[in-house]
Subunit: 144 residues, 2 copies
Amino acid sequence: MESPKSDRAKEMEAALRRDGVRLTRQRAALLEVLGDAEDHPDANELHRRAKGLDETVSLATVYRTLSVLEAQGVIHRHAFEGGGARFETADSPHHDHIIDLDTEEVIEFRSEKIERLQAEIAAELGYDVVHHRLELYCRKAPEK
Amino acid sequence: MESPKSDRAKEMEAALRRDGVRLTRQRAALLEVLGDAEDHPDANELHRRAKGLDETVSLATVYRTLSVLEAQGVIHRHAFEGGGARFETADSPHHDHIIDLDTEEVIEFRSEKIERLQAEIAAELGYDVVHHRLELYCRKAPEK
DNA sequence: AATGCAATTGCGAATTATTCTCATGTAATA
DNA sequence: TATTACATGAGAATAATTCGCAATTGCATT
């Protein structure tokens, strides 16, 4: 029994087709892996997982494809502190991140208020926000 | 006529002395350069400037010293998008950054409200914020 | 001022994350 | 299924940073 292609992977494939991006065996494998990921893996980890679906994917292609996918807007690239870039699919609405300093785990959150304040602050200084980065490096609060 | 040692450099030297950190010729040069900097230079640029005061400073020592200074808390290290780390003295109160995407220029700002919201959000999820990173990547707003 | 030694330095080699080169392979179209 | 422009794998190249080591040097103590 084959693992069925995830819906997220299928949606990403469709998006790429719409833009005339070629769908290679290697790209399909990476899309599958990205679609299944519930975490925020780095290029190396994605390569490791992708090889499970297709022996032939090279790390160079993982990097190349990640750049393509990012340019197409189907994934987001994050550069958290320490180590390399980490990736996630772009299908969920915008959010920022909490990074657990002890576990490296990434938790997503969203604050309309903060978004609004950011735009206001930039506007006051004569700027438009193109994109932003808000990361809270945290530790579990002691039980009370 | 010698350029007089900047006050900020002197303060940083005092802080290091207090903690028993040795003040070498090379470190003094770097402190001087950091004290004079009005921008957010990277290691390479700091090395270039430091060589103007002391021919002998090597890039390796710049990196080593920056790590020492960061550990002592007298400078902050920032990893903005693209390129390497950039540094600034830690004497000004906490602030976040706007990065002008066209000029690479860095503008500092501060929002009590955003700080408060961040802490609230983390607390709701059971976390304490150790530190955070808020960067607005911006373009100059069109004149109205 | 001379001494002693652990901390610091410069140099170049090593590392890490990522990108590039180029000869070969292949997806999409006709 | 032939064409061809685009994608790929392997490994070299790059960029930022760190490391190993032998030589130097702050600085506390004579």
